[in-house]
């Protein structure tokens, strides 16, 4: 197990390094050089140019630049924002709490509602199943930005239950402000996970080992928990992990729709301002979160299925 964890960790680090190279290198692929952005049409003294290049690690071989940037980033120093002249890390830490709250909120919605509805659908009667399936049909066919607009129209503008804009402050303020965005963000994934859970549960229900458990006179609740749900968890965990990781990108749309100044919003405005230092930093954080969530899912997967562990143990 330790060996397996070590391997997972090593591959995660390699993946993170590779993606950081791509992120850093993409600056060179974008139109307009850093110098052009920084100085615009101004002519500058060579001394100034030199000082600026030093600050942004420009004018040296790519991998030297990259290495300087990476080591500084690992210490939490992403340099100065080109647009605002303030440390990028400040902008990050101002925007991050909203996004983290939103992603965690939506993740809880996805897992609780998705798995819960899926289980109900698989075990419930024909009518309940039909109703839930109809709901998921709507859920999977409505794009996130449409869901956001509908939610604002109904629950914010008509019913006045929730505010239209802003991220709120304090736990309860945030909870109130971020409820609609979290539902908009989660809707599609809830519907999808419901379907996956239902299918997976139904497959297991037909399994021979479930017949064995029933033939042994185990109570129905033990049969469902230990022999149906427990076995059905494998695809459920994979899909929940992918959905949660996908939320990190989905926040860009939702933050825009609800006027939340989170990481997604920060990324968009940084792109518009050609603030490459900020773009790199936000991209790095988003990609890192994605990779880490995926690694956690992989590890959870092997803990759930002993058959997967075999290869690692014998290696």
């Amino acid at each position: 197990m330790t060996r397996y964890l070590g391997r997972q960790l090593a591959s995660m680090i390699v993946l993170l390094l590779l993606s950081s190279i791509v992120i850093y290198g993409s600056m060179y692929l974008a139109p307009g050089s850093a110098d052009a952005v920084l100085f615009g049409n101004h002519t500058v003294l060579p001394a100034v140019r030199k000082a600026v290049d030093a600050q942004y690690h420009l004018g040296r071989p790519f991998f030297v630049q990259y290495w300087d940037w990476l080591t500084a980033a690992l210490h939490g120093n992403f340099g100065l924002s080109i647009a605002l002249r303030t440390p990028v890390s400040q902008r990050l830490s101002a925007a991050a709490p909203t996004t983290i709250f939103l992603v965690v909120y939506a993740s809880i919605l996805i897992t609780v509602a998705g798995i819960g509805l899926g289980v109900l659908s698989a075990l419930g009667g024909r009518k309940l199943d039909g109703a839930i399936m109809a709901l998921t049909n709507v859920g999977t066919s409505v794009p996130t930005f449409v869901a956001a607009i509908i939610l604002i129209e109904v629950f914010a503008l008509d019913l006045h239950w929730f505010p239209v804009l802003g991220a709120g402050s304090g736990f309860f303020g945030r909870l109130q402000h971020l409820t609609l965005p979290a539902f908009a963000l989660a809707a599609w994934a809830v519907a999808y996970l419901t379907r996956v859970t239902r299918t997976s549960m139904r497959d297991e229900l037909r399994g021979e080992h479930v017949a064995t458990a029933r033939a042994r006179g185990l109570s129905e609740s033990v049969v469902i928990r230990r022999h149906v749900f427990r076995n059905a968890l494998l695809p459920i965990v994979t899909v929940s992990g992918l959905q949660v990781a996908g939320l990190i990108a989905g926040t860009i749309i939702v933050e825009q729709a609800f006027g939340l100044n989170g990481l997604g919003q920060l990324l968009l405005s940084a792109v518009e301002q050609k603030d490459f230092a900020t773009v790199q930093a936000v991209s790095l954080v988003l990609v890192a979160a994605f990779v880490i969530v995926n690694t956690l899912v992989d590890i959870a997967y092997t803990m759930l299925d002993p058959r997967i562990r075999l290869g690692a143990r014998e290696a």
């Binding site: 042994r216 006179g217 033990v222 058959r307 075999l310």
Partner: protein, 335 residues
Amino acid sequence: MSALLEVDQLAVQLPIGQRLRPVLHDVSFTLARGEVLAVVGESGSGKSMTARAIVRLLPPGAASSGRVTFDGTDVGSATRAQLRELRARRVGMIFQDPRAAINPIHRIGDFLTEALVRDRRMRKAEAHERAVAVLGEVGIDDPGRRLRQHPHELSGGMLQRVMIASVLLAEPDLILADEPTTALDVTTQAEVVAVLGDLRRERAMAMVFITHDLELAAAISDRVAVMYAGYLVETLPAAQALERPIHPYTEALLRSRPELSRRMAAIPQIPGRPLAAHEATGGCPFQPRCSYAIERCAAERPEPVRLGGESVMCHRAQERRAAGSAPVGEGTLVR
């Protein structure tokens, strides 16, 4: 003393497509305490369905009629709790493929002790001790280590022993063994059958042993029941099954065995194809393939008749019994 198990006019219909189709027709037999009944027949003849119907373990949507009485209790009208009690303590079931029948996710130890710990509220240590003891009995080395392993780490034969052990742990009065050796290779089959036979005899448990191997059936059982197309066509003492069967189908089955003692040009077959239970028409289900069929066989379904210790579903049963039926084992083709 009354019989342990009485099955009377049991019929089962399964939903196939839009309608219910019969898979079992009016099956009746009894089983005494400690007795072994082997049920023989081709795939789809209703063997497994009979076993499952005994503990009401039918697929969703199935309909059944007739009566199953276990130790004086009507299984058909049992409440949920009574049914659970029956399955947990009175009747144990062994399935064909242990790799599918044992949950791959839990450890062998969890599988064996699950029912004891969760249902009988036994302490974990005690359940563990019992599991170790019974694994030793079914011939598994190093039971302590096996308990910590997962099903994929054991061979098929080992797993079927684990399955047998799990049934023995429940100490039932009746074991339903549904082709317990079909999924195993030939050498392990013999070992598993021996283990099951010995341990059952020691504990004086009754058993319904389902197989498609007539010789194995005769060797392991007291009585043999032969099924065809959802009908129980003949029930006879095991000693007679290989020598003097009355029903033409049993006789034809016997003739279709390859002989080990001499080279055969071709293994004799029963002409035609096996009928599905729902295809049976008004007459005898075996009539289209039967070399002894007379006009009456196509028109009228025979009722089972009792002849001494036997029950045979054939219009010509009396006549065939009087004639001593045809000698079997000459390797002549049934035509």
